[in-house]
Amino acid sequence: MSHQHAKLAKTFLAQSKKADWHDKTLWKVRKLRDKVSGEVDEFQELREMASQIKKHTLTHLDEYLLQFERKAQGNGIAVHWARDAREHNEIVHGLLKEKKITQVIKSKSMLTEECELNRYLKERNVNVLDSDLGELIVQLRRETPSHIVMPAIHLNKEQVGEVFLQEKLTEEYSNDPQYLTFRARTYLRDKFLNHEASLTGVNFAIAETGGIVVVTNEGNADLGVNLAKVNIHCMGIEKIIPSFKNLEFFIRLLARSATGQPISVYTSHYHKPRPEQARHIVILDNRRSDRLGEERFYEALKCIRCGACMNTCPVYRNSGGHSYTYPIPGPIGSILAPKMDLKKHRDLPFASSLCGSCTYVCPVKINLHQQLFDWREEIAKSDESFVKKKYLSYFLVKLFSRHFLTKFFFGLLKWLLRVTPKTFLKRNNWGKYREFPKIPQESFAEWYSKNGKNFERET
C-alpha cells in the first residue's frame, strides 16, 4: 500500500492556517450550491434527467459520435480522432505546425491537463498561454491546477502578488485581488488580439447540431475563439449530448452545482466558423471506451466536471488538490485515475471516508462513493500488500465467532488501552491526529449481567 496521498496531504497540512482557510472556503461554496439549488423546485428532477440523458448517450455513444461528426463537418468544422494522449497532442501540434503558429492561447481544459499538452508543445517550441486567471497563476508558478473549477484555490493572494511581480505583470508588489485581476486582464488582452490560434475545452458537444458549448465566467474562451484565426476545441468522447434541447437540464445544473451561481456569465454555443476562421475539434478516447464495458465504473463517464464533489469532500478540503496524484483531484479524480494507471494511483480510492457526500451533490448522479469502494476491491485483488489485511480478517473472523475468545480479547484490549503510552499512537499515520478512546471501568456486558434483569420486558 502506498501512502502517496497521505504524504502529500501532510505537506499541505503543515501550513495549518491556509489549510483551515481552504477547508472553510470550499465548504462555503458547497453551502452556496445548496442555497441556489434549493431555489429550484424541480432540482432533483433535473438531476435525474441529466443522469438519464447521459446514461442513454453512453449506451448509444457510437451513433451520437457519428452524428456529431457528420453535422460538425456540415458546419465546416474539421473533426479529428485521437486514441490516446500522444495522438491528441500530435494532432494539435500538427494543426499549429501546418499554419506555422508558435503561440496559442488556451482557456480551461482539464483534458489538455490529462494529456500534458502544454509540456508536449513546449518541447516542440510552441508556447501555450493559459488565459483563465487561476490557470494563468498556476502556469506562472510552474504548477498544476489544484481544483478543476478554481485552479489556484491552494494559493493566497500574497503568493499571487509575488508571482505577478516576479513575472513582471505588475511593477510594484500588490496583493489586491481587484488590481491583480486588472493587471492579468491588461496582459492577456494584448495576447488575445495578437495570437493566431486559440484552444478551448468543451463542456457539451451537441450531436444534433454538430456544435459545442463552452462555459466560462471570465470570457476568456470567447475572446480566444472569436479573435483567433484557428480554433481548436479538445473534448473527450463522453462530452456528447443528443440534442440542443437537452442543454436545458445541463445548463440549469452546471453553475448551480459548481459555484452556486444560477448560470455562469458566458454560456457560448459555437457552430459554423466565420469565413476567415478555421475550426477544429479533436475527439479523445484515452481509455474512456474501455471503461464503457465495466458495469461498476462506466458511470464515471457521465461527469460534467462541475467540481461539486471536491467542494463537499472532507478529505479533499483537508488535503488540497495537489495531494492527489492525478490532474483531476477529489472523489471524481479518485475513480477516474485508477483506470489510467492502477499502480500509480492505487491509494486514491482510499483517500475517502466513504461518507457519500459526493454522491449526494453530483448533478448527474454518479455513484461516486460506491465506485470508490469498488475500486478498493479491485486494488486489493492486485496489491500484494493487502495480504496482511487478508490474514487479519481471517484472524478476526475466528476471534469473533467464539464467545470466550471475544470476551478474552476485549478484556485484553481494555487493559492494553489503559497501559499503552499515548505516544505510541502518534507513531502511526492514522493515529497521529487522534486520541485513544476513554475506557470505562465496566463493560456493557458486565453491567448487563448485573443489571439486565431489572429491564427485562414483561411478557
Binding site: R189, N220, E248
Partner: protein, 214 residues
C-alpha cells in the same frame, strides 16, 4: 483460400484508423455492458412550469444580482437620454444592433483587429432574456464582429420586455429555430473568483453590463 485468410489477418493486424478503432471499441464495450437506456421524459413541477407567467420584476432583480445595471425605456426614442444619464458618450459608443437603432456620432467598426481592443462601449441587440438566471441570448452571427460583446470594455444590451422567458426550458424551446447558430447566454459582466475566492467583477470580458429594456 489460404492467401485470402492471410490477407484478412494482415488487414486486422494493420492499425485501424483511430476513428474506427474508437467506434469499434465503444460498440464492443456497450454490448458488454448489456443494456440500452432510452431517453426519459421530463415532467416539470413546481411554480416554474413553462406556462407560468414571466415576472419582469424578478428578471430585473436577477440582473442586479449578477451585477448588471437595468434601465427601462419608455420607447426607443428615449435611448439617447438614458445613455447620457448613464454617462455614455455618443462619440465613444459602437452600435451593432442590426440597424434597429442609430446614434448620431457613434463609432464605426474598426477594420483592424487590434483596434477592437480600444472599444469603450458597445451597444448590441439581445434576442431573449431568462427570468430564472438573468441571462440574455445574443446571436453572434448577426454581429459585424463576433468578438464585440466580449472585447468591449462595457456592454449595453437592448432587450424587448416581451422577449423575456421564464427559465432555460422555455429558452431552449424558443431557440429551436436557431439551434445551429453561434450564440451566447450572457449573464452580467465578466467575473472571477480565482484569487482567494474574492469576487472581482471585470475579468477578461466586458467589465460592466447595462441592460436596456423596452
Amino acid at each position: 483460400m489460404l492467401s485470402g485468410i492471410l490477407k484478412t489477418g494482415k488487414i486486422l493486424k494493420e492499425k485501424l484508423n483511430s476513428r474506427d478503432f474508437i467506434l469499434e471499441n465503444i460498440r464492443k464495450n456497450v454490448k458488454k455492458l448489456g443494456f440500452n437506456n432510452s431517453l426519459p421524459a421530463f415532467q416539470e413541477r413546481g411554480d416554474s412550469s413553462l406556462t407560468s407567467k414571466v415576472e419582469l420584476e424578478a428578471f430585473k432583480k436577477r440582473l442586479a444580482s449578477v451585477h448588471a445595471k437595468v434601465e427601462v425605456l419608455s420607447s426607443l426614442a428615449s435611448l439617447n437620454d438614458v445613455l447620457s444619464k448613464n454617462q455614455v458618450n455618443a462619440q465613444k459608443i459602437l452600435v451593432d444592433a442590426g440597424g434597429e437603432v442609430e446614434i448620431k456620432g457613434s463609432l464605426k467598426m474598426p477594420a483592424a483587429k487590434r483596434a477592437l481592443g480600444e472599444i469603450e462601449w458597445a451597444l448590441i441587440h439581445g434576442e431573449m432574456g431568462v427570468e430564472e438566471n438573468g441571462a440574455i441570448w445574443v446571436n453572434l452571427d448577426l454581429l459585424t464582429h463576433s468578438a464585440l460583446p466580449f472585447i468591449t470594455e462595457n456592454l449595453i444590451v437592448l432587450l424587448k420586455q416581451k422577449n423575456v422567458v421564464k427559465n432555460m426550458h422555455a429558452a431552449y424551446e424558443g431557440l429551436a429555430a436557431k439551434k445551429s447558430s453561434n450564440g451566447v447566454f450572457i449573464a452580467g459582466p465578466s467575473k472571477t473568483g480565482d484569487i482567494e475566492h474574492n469576487l472581482v467583477v471585470g475579468a477578461h470580458g466586458a467589465r460592466s453590463l447595462l441592460v436596456l429594456l423596452y
